[in-house]
């Protein structure tokens, strides 16, 4: 339903489209990100990271604090630019894009979920979702309310549509934030510790939601410490000191496991 609504109105192609593999959603090639720490020195958050994520993959990024997880997520979401290397998301090279073009692209292609939900406190749950639609203008004005209510129904928040975030529980706020991330039906959803501020039961629900999204063909790129989330992912990337130290396909291992069990 969301896809139908959006398909009718998407007209603008992503900026600087390049010929990439149709199934590659995220392509990071030798990406380095440095931050100036003093007059003469720079700290390197990422050091030549190369990652390729296919469309429909569910990727969990693990690593200790300071390993570069959030920096990686910011680069994937187009919230930051690499110091070196290239970032290509959904067929769009993000380097050198003007800020405004990047913002428009992000609104259409990426849904972002935060640890602390980050709903706008003066807008209701419904309005938070409708604002995301209004900013990008992919969903026609006349359909926004209906689409937003559908999204809230999907995350089981229909009854709370007109409540302010302060009147919702943590789990409800996170579900509303996920609904907002899906407002413009983006092919890629990135999340930064989405269950880090939730109890186990609520975190389990959220995990279920993420799995549904993957089942619908969305690509999920999640930074997490949650073993359950990581366990549900197709692939786990582990970072340490700005480097990818492990890239494990859990899906193939999971598929192989029953076979070996049978054997």
């Amino acid at each position: 339903m969301i896809a139908d609504a959006i398909q009718n109105s998407v007209t603008t192609p992503p900026p600087h489209s390049v010929s990439v593999s149709k199934i590659a959603m995220i392509e990071l090639n030798a990406v380095t990100k440095s931050f100036p720490s003093s007059a003469s020195q720079a700290s390197h958050a990422l050091r030549g990271v190369t990652i390729k994520v296919l469309t429909g993959e569910y990727v969990a990024v693990l690593g200790k604090s300071g390993s570069g997880k959030s920096t990686l997520l910011n680069l994937v979401a187009g919230l930051d630019r690499p110091s070196a290397g290239s970032v290509c998301i959904a067929g769009s090279l993000l380097a050198d894009q003007p800020v405004s073009a990047l913002a428009r692209w992000r609104g259409r292609q990426v849904g972002v979920v935060f640890q602390f939900f980050q709903l706008l406190p003066t807008l209701t749950a419904l309005e938070n979702i409708m604002l995301a639609m209004e900013l990008v203008a992919v969903v026609p004005t006349s359909k926004r309310r209906r689409v937003a209510l559908d999204l809230l129904a999907r995350v089981d928040l229909c009854e709370h549509a007109n409540k302010l975030p302060s009147m919702l529980s943590g789990g409800q706020q996170q579900r509303a934030a996920i609904a907002r991330a899906l407002a413009n039906d983006p092919p890629l959803v990135v999340a930064d510790e989405p269950t880090g501020n939730l109890d186990t039961e609520t975190a389990h629900d959220i995990n279920g939601l993420f799995q549904q999204l993957v089942a619908e063909g969305k690509t999920l790129f999640i930074v997490t410490h949650d073993a359950n989330i990581a366990g549900a992912a197709d692939r786990i990337i582990e970072l340490k000191d700005g480097l990818v130290v492990a890239d494990t396909s859990v899906k193939s291992a999971r598929m192989a496991a029953p076979r070996s069990a049978k054997a």
Binding site: V99, A103, G107, P121, L131, S166
Partner: protein, 803 residues
């Protein structure tokens, strides 16, 4: 030497909050300057206005005679309660201008400038010359004279004035000096020049060297009634000695523009209070808003074991220097501004500022307030943090919690299909106190400014209506009374004179026969005085609308019309009342048959028959009222001047409609200028507040901006949303300002109608004022736009990375 960690934190905070700290410093400096300027100006002007009038040592009683001889002076001086006496004489003349126009000039003859005993004139920095034959011109007339440079020369020879004598001759008299008469209204407002001469110069100007007024200064004047009693006693004594006074008048012991100056001082006081409240509120909330973000840091410091004293010291090290800097810059700036205001009013009100110093106690209070208020503002969030547990302080996000106003806004502020604008509108309610202060600051500034324009527009419409109602365009006062027909004939010979009518005037005492016997109120008899004006039976120039009652019958001999001013000054008089009019020794009873409205004139109008019955002056006109063809007043004024001069009856004054209008406009300007200052200050403060608040809003909501960025909002859209917040505040302030201006203008017009103008004063909206208000609003919006453009330049990463 290594810097201590505490100082490093201060250094870091300065770096982090540099924009906010700059805004705080600017607000403190402007607030301090505004309050200092207003308080200083008020304190100095209040003191100096009073001192200026006291320095005049105004006479208390005036007794009129045919001649005042030295023995008479001695007799009155010897009476108990009399401190000093002095003979004087006044006459009117005309002073020529280069372009052919003649200005009215009132000349007072003073026996000896060096031996003045009351109504003192001051000559700045010079001694009175002995036996001088020149003219001493009151300094407030300087601007009127300066407009005619050929009259006042800059050569080695003393400048001369061309004066028309009573015989019509023109004499050149030297302009000896400009003097200051602190007891009179400024010439710029009265539109008449004041000059002072010795008897010798009076003779040269064709006047008698005799005096006709005996001025009395009392030893101690406590009340009007006391002065009236002494005046009456003097009348009785002089009558017994065979030298009866023609008239006794108790002079008001106040400046003629006392009410106007008090109004100006009151407005200045309002300015001081407003500037204080606005700057205090602004300083408080900008400092406390900045400090609010530090609550969490204070919590962290507490977990590290910092004591309350150490935390206080930490933040005082940050804010203290800014407060001191603000005092160091704001105070001198305020003193300079205050002096400019004082100087402006010294000239405008024609007062001497002998002591421009501000009381030291006031300065100490100002400095104390300037230091204490921002420090209290710092203390509030610090106290809040100190009351919280360390954990609660650490977890305080600072911006999430919604109060009642925000919930109210979330419920009721909703624009269909405009979630972005809805967000902007609701965000304005997130800080209701801040919103209220901003609205009040902006609305008060705009409202006062528009109120000034609305009031001025209304006043001038009242003036124009009243002048149109008078029916004539020019009034010529002649020195020598003549039969009306003779004067009319002279005037009609002047080109473009359409109608000319000879009218009569005489001063009469009013005795309210309906109330009580006149004898029982001897003290009031002299104080109830009015001008009786006689118009011709077939008048075409009496156009004053009768608002109550009727016109006197053409042939009635004892009917009069009263102006509303007269009935409001003497409320016991009413339409239908019978009063006795006393003129000299004659006393005639008349009936007030109607009420007319004329600006500020306590007059009685009647036909010639009644006028003659009351005054016994017969067909003796001294005023010609003229209606002209077209609207070119000046050529007709000059023509009339020349015509009466040629007819050997030179006018003492030729008063055109425009002269009256200009004079009244000057009166209104005294108060309206200070109101404009208030408006400018309030709008300036409000504008800075809006820009500063926008800055704070943006810095407080970095995280929210980051969220919008992740949702796909472009910097332009974010800027527009933030701008919409400022614009919505501006919009509501604008509406509020218009409403405030209308309400205030109605209140002012109501007071003015009953206490000053004495004519109906309906409200007229000033579109010029509205245009200025719109321009001001645009300027404020531009400042918000610049602030938004500046503050929203933070990178998306910085915004998202916040906290």
């Amino acid at each position: 030497m290594r810097m201590s960690m505490r100082w490093k934190k201060v250094q870091g905070d300065i770096q982090l909050y540099r924009t906010q700290l700059f805004a705080i410093a600017l607000i403190l400096i402007l607030g301090e300057a505004g309050v200092t300027a207003a308080l200083n100006a008020h304190a100095v002007l209040k003191r100096e206005i009073a001192a200026s009038f006291v320095s005049a040592s105004a006479a208390d009683i005036s007794l009129s005679f045919e001649h005042v001889e030295p023995p008479l002076l001695a007799i009155v001086a010897a009476e108990p309660g009399v401190a000093a006496v002095e003979a004087r004489r006044r006459f009117y003349t005309r002073v020529a201008a280069n372009d052919g126009r003649w200005l009215s000039m009132r000349i007072t003859v003073i026996p000896d400038f060096a031996l003045q005993k009351m109504d003192f004139l001051h000559m700045h920095g010079a001694l009175w010359p002995v036996g001088d034959e020149g003219i001493y011109l009151e300094q407030s007339g300087q601007t009127l004279i300066d407009a005619r440079p050929a009259i006042v020369g800059v050569s080695d020879k003393p400048p001369t004035l061309k004066i028309r004598t009573s015989s019509g001759d023109i004499v050149s008299a030297p302009l000896t000096a400009f003097v200051h008469d602190p007891g009179i209204a400024p010439s710029t407002q009265e539109r008449i020049l004041e000059a002072y001469v010795t008897p010798k110069t009076a003779l040269m100007l064709g006047q008698s060297a005799n005096f006709d007024q005996l001025m009395v200064k009392m030893q101690k004047r406590i009340s009007f009634n006391e002065a009236a009693a002494l005046g009456a006693a003097l009348q009785v004594t002089l009558a017994k000695l065979g030298a009866p006074a023609l008239r006794m008048e108790v002079l008001p012991a106040m400046h003629p523009h006392n009410a106007l100056m008090n109004a100006m001082l009151n407005v200045l006081r309002v300015l001081a209070v407003m500037a204080f409240i606005c700057s205090a509120a602004m300083a408080s909330y900008t400092v406390s808003a900045c400090m609010r973000r530090e609550v969490r840091v204070i919590g962290i410091m507490k977990t590290m074991g910092a004591s309350g004293f150490q935390i206080c010291k930490q933040y005082l090290s940050l804010i203290g220097p800014i407060v001191l800097l603000a005092v160091a810059f704001g105070l001198p700036l305020g003193i300079l501004l205050g002096r400019a205001v004082i100087q402006y009013y010294a000239v405008s009100l024609n007062i001497d500022i002998n002591d421009p110093h501000v009381p030291s106690s006031l300065m100490i209070q100002q400095i104390a307030l300037a230091i204490c208020i921002p420090l209290i503002a710092v203390a509030v969030p610090m106290l809040r943090a100190s009351r919280m547990t360390a954990q609660a302080a650490v977890n305080d996000a600072g911006i999430v919690e919604l109060d009642l106003a925000s919930r109210f806004a979330a419920k009721f502020v909703k624009l269909p299909n405009q979630i972005g604008l809805t967000l902007a509108l609701r965000n304005t309610w997130r800080r209701p106190w801040r919103l209220m202060i901003m609205l009040l600051g902006l609305a008060a500034g705009g409202g006062l400014m528009l109120m000034t324009h609305n009031s001025m527009e209304s006043f001038m419409r009242v003036v124009d209506t009243s002048l149109a109602n008078q029916g004539h365009d020019i009034a010529v006062r002649v020195r020598r009374v003549q039969p009306a027909s003779d004067l009319e004939m002279i005037a009609r010979a002047v080109p473009n004179v359409k109608i000319a009518e000879g009218w009569r005037r005489a001063g009469v005492d009013l005795i309210d026969t309906d109330r009580a016997p006149a004898s029982s109120r001897a003290d009031e008899t002299n104080s109830k005085r009015a001008t009786l004006v006689g118009y011709p039976a077939e008048t075409k120039l009496f156009k004053l609308p009768v608002v109550s009652g009727r016109l006197p019958s053409a042939d009635a001999a004892h009917e009069v019309l009263a102006t509303r001013a007269l009935l409001e000054v003497y409320p016991t008089l009413q339409v239908g009342a019978t009063i006795a009019l006393k003129s000299g020794l004659r006393q005639v009873t008349v009936t007030i048959v109607g009420l007319v409205e004329e600006i500020a004139s306590a007059k009685l109008y009647t036909n010639f028959a009644t006028f003659d019955a009351v005054t016994g002056l017969g067909d003796a006109a001294d005023v010609i009222r003229i209606k002209i063809n077209g609207d070119q007043l000046e050529p007709v004024v000059s023509g009339l001047d020349q015509a009466f001069l040629s007819a050997q009856n030179p006018p003492s004054a030729v008063i055109s409609r425009s002269v009256v209008r200009d004079g009244l406009e000057e009166h209104f300007k005294v108060v309206s200028d200070v109101v404009r200052m208030v408006a400018l200050a309030a709008a300036l403060i409000g504008g800075i507040m809006l820009a500063a608040t926008t800055l704070l809003n943006i810095s407080e909501r970095t995280r929210e901006i980051g969220i919008l960025c992740t949702l796909g909002a472009t910097p332009r859209k974010i800027g527009l949303l933030l701008f919409a917040e400022g614009a919505s505040v501006m919009f509501f302030s604008f509406i509020l300002a218009v409403l405030i201006s209308i309400w205030l203008a109605l209140a002012i017009l109501n007071v003015a109608e009953h206490q000053m103008l004495h004519v109906a004063a309906p409200l007229h909206f000033s579109f010029k004022g509205l245009a200025i208000l719109v321009s001001g609003a645009i300027v404020v919006l531009l400042s918000v736009l610049v602030t938004v453009a500046y503050a929203a330049r933070k990178t998306i990463r910085e915004a998202v990375a916040y906290e």
